[in-house]
């Protein structure tokens, strides 16, 4: 087994942790509110905090097993840790930082130095001091340093949270490059929906120290946002570009249960795309309408109606086996008599693209840009 297998419980102060999940290669996000226990779980895997009982296995090596009395110390765990605050050694050059695991940690050089430097775009920074780097550069060095420690697993504890929005956008393509170019499983802690939606293959939902759900990002976000803050709530849809109209700059994305049109230039037929649909951009109708500027009208089935006393209500809709959310006024829901199981039409005013996924090895640094369908009135 190449991935990570965690089944631990423990207690930090008055806070109880109990978590069981698996992660394979690709990015697995530990997602939940601040204070849900995500970072504590990460520390237990890294060995800087100790579970009271359970078992942690990474790449076939037992790191912790309370039943057999195994508890490897952090240097022995072969885990690359990317901290929120980078933690570069201030008295060493970028190069010395990057190679620290080799000269101080006696880790094997399984990954060529130049390759990692190129992957993270650090060629021109090697002889600089960490103090002179920007926040984004610093975090890239930290990621490179972890990659060069021959890790069986990479742990990232909110690596972007200390950066502003622009810098985050700068780092995300590098993280995607790591996902596609290395086979190292990444466990990524975050409480940012957009970040996780873009990066994660699998989401482990953490709530009050417990795993409350595990699944593909698309499914988890469809469920999750029902009881999260309404304004930014949304869902993910996955599909494949089936046609591209260069004249109007529109692509057709085919997915289970329907087809969505999308604006943008940078598409190729066959691209896998992940679409983010905000609940507030979804309207419902009983039937398909002519004479509307909205182009995406997709048949759906009402799956769940949220309970809420305010003006708005969340409605979960099934499109094929995928799920999106609509934020409607409570009055509309009651006047239209919308009920679970109804066949309706979802009108999507706007769709944003999260990531075009190309065949492995090809990473487009500009892929983070948002494209949206732009005909809302």
């Amino acid at each position: 087994m190449s991935g990570l297998d965690v089944d631990i419980s423990g207690r930090i102060g008055a806070f109880a942790i109990s978590a069981a999940f698996q992660a394979e290669s690709g990015i697995t996000a530990l997602f939940g509110r601040s204070g849900a226990g995500k970072s504590t779980i990460l520390k237990m895997i890294a060995g800087t905090a100790r579970p009271t009982k359970g078992r942690i296995v990474a790449a076939g090596r037992v790191l912790f097993d309370s039943a057999r009395g195994i508890d490897l110390r952090p240097p022995e765990r072969r885990i690359g840790f990317v901290f929120q605050d980078a933690r570069l050694f201030p008295h060493m050059s970028v190069r010395r930082n990057l190679t620290y695991a080799r000269w101080a940690g006696r880790r094997k050089a399984t990954r060529p130095f130049d390759e990692v430097v190129a992957l993270l775009g650090l060629e021109n920074h090697l002889d600089r001091s960490p103090a002179t780097l920007s926040g984004g550069e610093r975090q890239r060095v930290a990621i490179g340093r972890a990659l060069l420690s021959d890790p069986a697993l990479l742990l990232m504890d909110e690596p972007l949270s200390s950066l502003d929005r622009e810098r985050r956008g700068e780092i995300l393509p590098y993280l995607e490059a790591i996902r596609s170019e290395t086979r190292i499983p990444v466990l990524y802690v975050s409480h940012e929906t957009a970040e996780v939606a873009r990066l994660a293959d699998t989401v482990v939902l953490i709530d009050a120290g417990q795993v409350s759900d595990v699944g593909p990002a698309a499914r988890i976000f469809g469920l999750l946002d029902l009881d999260m803050q309404a304004g930014e709530a949304g869902a993910l849809l996955e599909g494949e570009v089936s046609a591209f109209d260069a004249e109007y700059e529109m692509a057709n994305v085919r997915m289970d249960g329907g087809c969505i049109e999308l604006t943008g230039r940078d598409f190729r037929v066959g691209d896998r795309v992940r679409l983010h649909v905000r609940a507030s951009d979804v309207a419902l109708a009983r039937s398909i309408h002519d004479g509307l500027s909205i182009r995406n009208q997709i048949p759906c089935i009402v799956d769940e109606i949220g309970r809420h006393d305010g003006a708005h209500v969340m409605v979960a809709l099934n499109i094929g086996d995928q799920r999106i959310l609509a934020c409607l006024t409570r009055k509309s829901v009651s006047e239209l008599g919308i009920a679970k199981g109804d066949r309706m039409v979802a009108l999507l005013k706007s769709v944003s693209i999260e990531t075009p996924r190309r065949s492995a090895g090809q990473v487009d640094a500009t892929s983070g840009r948002k494209a949206s369908q732009g005909e809302e009135g």
Binding site: A46, T48, P75, D85, R87, H91, M92, A104
Partner: protein, 227 residues
Amino acid sequence: MEESAGAIVLLSAKVALTAIAVGLVPAFAIAWLLARRDFPGKGLVQAVVTMPLVLPPVVTGYLLLLLFGSRGPLGRFFESVFGLSFAFRWTGAALAAGVMAFPLLVRPIRLSLEAIDRGLEEAGHTLGASRPVVFLTVTLPLALPGLLAGGVLGFAKALGEFGATITFVSNIPGETQTLSLAIYTLLQTPTGDAAALHLIIVSAILAVAAVLFSEWIARRMQRSSRQ
């Protein structure tokens, strides 16, 4: 007053350097304990370390005489186990200087240790480095400015130490008569003023040189860490 100024300066430098060289290691250990560990009696340790700074030097010298004199318990221990005697020897002068300088060594080291982000050490461990290696590659280099500041401050203090030294090992030319003691002796003799002035200038130069040296090292370290 037969000793030449050069011999006096050499003796003083030997005494002060020995005091600092021997004192730095325990000073670092105690600074580390005070900065990093909580243990019962921490307040007491801190008080004992600060003692030489607040006690009259003559009292410290007398306590050293009681403990490390030829009849003192520690004096007898060192004599029988290591063949090392302090009474009326330059080694005693170095001990007195070291004890007096000790609080000045500990404090800057402790401050620099406290300023180190523990997260850096944690990062070192996750990169596979063992505790001793992280100590040598991360903790020690980052604490170096504190060690240096403590060393220079302590050296200057040891060089000028008077009260504890004269009480503990007396004022023996060629053995325990360091700069301050020699200046004091000269000032007590009717014709010694000129020679005293000579030594006073030398000691001022030494003190300024020590401070300049530490500044130079500090700047060099800063520059090399930025590259």
